[in-house]
């Protein structure tokens, strides 16, 4: 039995039933194509538990890093202040309960749990030019584009999904994608 079961387990482990979605997002009219969140939209009859580990956004050099952070709904995000100046984080969006975490100094962290699907803008009252985004999406299958627009979402089970490309300044694009192994899906988004 041992001789038979090991190859079977190995077969189950190889990614024959899970592929990836990769491709490029062209953000028309933008300086580059970074900061688009590409994600698999909700899958009927499937829910995903949020990770126990917290996600993190750093406030460093008067910027939110990363600028766009996708998380699965229910994820708790830590907001760390790495700057030597005070920072604040709040969101003007109802889907993020208009949260306001107050003001805190360097080295400290405050947290917020994104309980609803939301594209929440993050602002700082101390530095009005600072802007970041948390994209709380229904599935754990997401990625953020690099400056050249490329992205890759790993470990997506084979199947047909609605895939969306969201950008803070552009209209969201939607595409039906059938994943079978490595699958390419390209998007063009514009105002």
């Amino acid at each position: 039995m041992t001789r038979v079961s090991i190859p079977v387990l190995l077969l189950l482990a190889i990614p024959a039933f899970a592929g990836d979605i990769h491709g490029k997002v062209i953000a028309k009219g933008m300086r580059d194509s970074s900061d688009a969140a590409v994600y698999v939209d909700s899958i009927p009859s499937k829910t995903f538990a949020p990770p126990t580990a917290h996600a993190r956004i750093d406030q460093k050099g008067l910027q939110f890093l990363p600028h766009v952070l996708p998380v699965v709904v229910g994820t708790t995000v830590d907001f760390l202040n790495s700057d030597s100046v005070l920072h604040n984080v709040f969101s003007p969006d109802a889907c993020a309960d208009h949260f306001d975490l107050g003001t805190w100094p360097q080295g400290q962290t405050k947290t917020f749990t994104f309980k609803k699907a939301c594209f929440a803008a993050l602002l700082c009252k101390v530095h009005p030019e600072m802007e970041g985004f948390v994209a709380a999406v229904p599935t754990p299958y997401f990625a953020v584009t690099s400056p050249n627009g490329s992205y890759q979402i790993n470990d997506v089970p084979d199947g047909t999904y609605t895939v969306k490309a969201w950008h803070p300044k552009l209209k969201t694009a939607t595409k039906s994608v059938t994943v079978k192994g490595a699958t390419e899906a390209n998007f063009t988004i514009a105002k």
Partner: protein
């Protein structure tokens, strides 16, 4: 503003002097070239004359039509994240600043040979190196989503050794703040009013402005007889201090209405000041070519961006009151009088035709002035209406892009019939060494007297 009664010949001599001493400033604003990392030729046929895209850029509040973030190469400094818009009025509406100090300098040097006739009929000539003649410090840019600004400080160096500095223009513009895009825009400050769009000195290919239009003096004991000694602004103001609404509708219809300080202290005249406001308006329509808002739907444009086949036509009007502002005059018997321009109206037609390398444009304008003449004690001695007519026609031609020619005829029929009409010719040839370095030879002549002329050799550069 003292204004003795003069003969037409002398008036024209002072006009020539005016041309020599007060050549108009003009705008080429490399601050925009830096912001977009683009050539001057994107907006200019040859600086300062605008092409159709430059006109759309200007009317759009110094922004490219349908501007996108990637066109702005020098990233602006954010004064508030975009998401702060949703916080207003609980937070100040977000804005931004130009990514670099938005200054630009234009420098003009001129060698001027002027010939004129003095009071005694003596022939005077003058050959003057005006190196430099003037420098113009421009600042221009955008503030946030809807606002923009433009200013020009001119430092001149006159042959008499004086070097006046003047804030020629400074205005704030609020674009498309309500209603459809491009339709309603507001300007406030000191600016070149849009009733002169297309023929204001700021955008002329020639060095000389159109003096017969902007510097004719319609005031005199029997109506005006010649050009103003200095300042101008009685026939049409070159710049106004005021508020203007303007816009573009249906891509090709242009309108402007404005209110401005009129005659009075603000324009260097003595009198009651600017208690009353002048009003002006203009409407235009452009057929063919790029639309006034930059739209090119259904139009095939040549790749050479100075070329176009279009026709723009419009009407303009200006109304003001100089009541309370005295213009001193003496008659031939040395009796002193004060003349007030109680109210005045200007009405005209503007047309501009582009046919590939050729642009022919002109204005025909009629003016009416109600002049009250007072004795020094204040007794009204005469109250009458006077009319004058003026027109010009200019033809600009791009021989090859670096070499451009211009020819203009100007005419005024003054209300004082004893003065006779003023007729002038202006011819110039411009050579662009680089797009921001320009050499010019320009000849300006009084067609009534062959000895009244000037010939200027000009070098201009902008950076």
């Amino acid at each position: 503003m003292a204004k003795p009664h003069r003969t037409p010949a002398i008036s024209f001599m002072t006009c020539l002097l005016f041309v020599v001493l007060n050549t108009p400033s003009a705008s080429a604003i490399p601050a925009f070239a830096r912001k977009y990392q683009t050539s001057c030729q994107t907006c200019h046929i040859g600086f300062p004359k605008l092409n159709a895209f430059g006109e759309a850029f200007r009317l759009n509040g110094y922004r490219m039509p349908k501007e996108t973030e990637d066109q702005i190469k020098l990233k602006p400094v954010s004064l508030g994240a975009d998401a702060y818009k949703r916080m207003w009025p609980r937070a100040i509406y977000p804005s931004d600043l130009p990514g670099q100090i938005p200054f630009a300098l234009n420098v003009k040097m001129a060698s001027v040979y002027a010939s004129s006739i003095d009071d005694t009929g003596r022939h005077l000539t003058k050959n003057d190196f005006q190196f430099p003649q003037e420098a113009n410090l421009f600042a221009g840019g955008t503030l946030g989503e809807h606002m923009s600004f433009l200013s020009e400080v001119t430092w001149a160096e006159n042959p008499d050794g004086s070097s006046p500095t003047e804030l020629e223009r400074i205005h704030l513009q609020i674009g498309s703040f309500i209603g459809p895009e491009h339709l309603i825009n507001l300007k406030i400050g000191k600016f070149a009013a849009d009733f002169a769009d297309g023929f204001h000195e700021m955008w002329l290919s020639t060095n000389n402005g159109i003096d017969t239009l902007f510097h004719f003096n319609p005031i005199g004991l029997n109506g005006g007889a010649g050009l103003a000694d200095s300042g101008g602004g009685v026939s049409l103001p070159s710049n106004v201090k005021g508020i203007e609404l303007y816009g573009v509708g249906a891509h090709r219809f242009f309108y402007t209405v404005g209110a401005a300080n009129g005659l009075g202290v603000a324009n260097g005249n003595s009198g009651r000041g600017s208690a009353t406001k002048d009003v002006y308006a203009r409407v235009d329509y452009k057929l063919g070519g790029m639309a006034l808002d930059g739209d090119t739907t259904g139009v095939t444009l040549p790749p050479e961006n100075w070329r176009e086949r279009s026709f723009r036509v419009g009407v303009l009007g200006y109304h003001g009151s100089g009541k309370g502002t005295n213009f001193p005059f003496t008659d031939s018997a040395q009796n002193a009088f004060n003349v007030q321009d109680k109210n005045f109206t200007r009405g005209g037609v503007y047309a501009s035709w582009f046919f590939n390398d050729l642009n022919v444009f002109g204005v025909a304008l009629t003016g009416r002035d109600h002049l009250d003449t007072f004795e020094p004690g204040g007794t009204l001695t005469k109250s009458a209406n006077y009319r004058y007519r003026t027109w010009f026609l200019q033809s600009d031609y791009v021989i090859v892009p670096p070499l451009q020619a211009s020819l203009r005829y100007e005419n005024v029929s003054p209300p004082d019939r004893t003065a006779g009409s003023i007729r002038a010719l202006n011819a110039s040839l411009s050579y662009f060494v680089y797009v921001n370095v320009k050499g010019m030879v320009e000849y300006h002549r009084d067609l009534r007297n062959s000895k009244n002329y000037d010939l200027s050799t000009i070098l201009r550069f902008a950076f």
